[in-house]
């Protein structure tokens, strides 16, 4: 399935936190937002390939045996590598944030007053990054095609000169 760019998943076992973020994202954008109380439920739908997942770090407040955010992050990156994951946590610790980035998180947001604004910025940054990535790929392909075309042109000119079909090419005398 192709990446669903306009779909966002929120995974949080705190229903208030999940609803607050969902309502904010819907208010500021046209995204379709789905909420999951556990990582396991999100993984059941991950083949839908959402564009972004906002993933809570701790997911065991309701079900003690639920997989935690880092484990779910690893599973998401394995099953849907193009989906960007933004970790969300009440912990304001740099080592935790860095650890989540090592496992493939795009960003790390600390829950609080500014978290909705930061979530909005994360969405903006992800789409801007994707647009830049797309442009870079396009320009790379274009330069490859131009390079091949240029090389083909040189080869043809040399062959024409070699076979005597063209003469008097300054700078290309053999």
């Amino acid at each position: 399935m192709a990446l669903q760019l306009n779909t966002i998943f929120i995974v949080d076992d705190d229903p208030m936190a999940a609803d607050l973020l969902k309502d904010h994202l819907i208010k500021v954008s046209k995204y379709s937002v789905e909420v999951f109380p556990t990582g396991e439920e999100c993984l059941e739908r991950i083949n839908f390939e959402p564009g972004i997942v906002f993933l809570d770090y701790y997911l065991d407040s309701v079900n003690k045996d639920a997989l935690d955010g880092l484990e779910i992050l690893r599973e998401i990156k394995e099953k849907s590598p193009e989906t960007e994951v933004v970790m969300v946590s009440g912990q304001d610790k740099i080592d935790v944030a860095v650890n989540t980035m090592k496992y493939g998180a795009f960003d790390y947001i600390v829950k609080g007053e500014s978290s909705f604004y930061r979530a909005e910025k994360a969405v903006f940054n992800i789409y801007r990054y994707r647009r830049l990535e797309g442009n870079a790929k396009k320009y790379k392909n274009m330069s490859i095609y131009l390079g091949v075309a240029f090389l083909a042109m040189i080869v043809i000119i040399l062959w024409l000169q070699f076979t005597g079909r063209i003469t008097n090419m300054p700078g290309l005398a053999l």
């Binding site: 076992d13 705190d14 208030m16 609803d19 607050l20 009440g90 829950k111 609080g112």
Partner: protein, 95 residues
Amino acid sequence: MKKYITMFTSTAPGMLEKIQTDCAASDWKALKTSSHSIKSQLKYMGAENAQNIAFEIERLSGEATDTSNLPALVNQLNELCTGVIKELNEEVEKF
């Protein structure tokens, strides 16, 4: 806003009860989790004092080395949250 206040006032009593149960059972791991949960919600409700106490409970129960203050902190949290819930219920009635 009314939706979130109602959400908090309906779930907070149960969360407080869980915190008290975990503390009474000296289940520090469970207490860390339950205090972490209520901490986020207190943050959204702007209850800074209660949030700070929840954070302290989370920290101490996570470290599990100096747990002697935890029962007092849990009682303090319970008192503060009861006041917060009462105030919020009064506010909701005005909507």
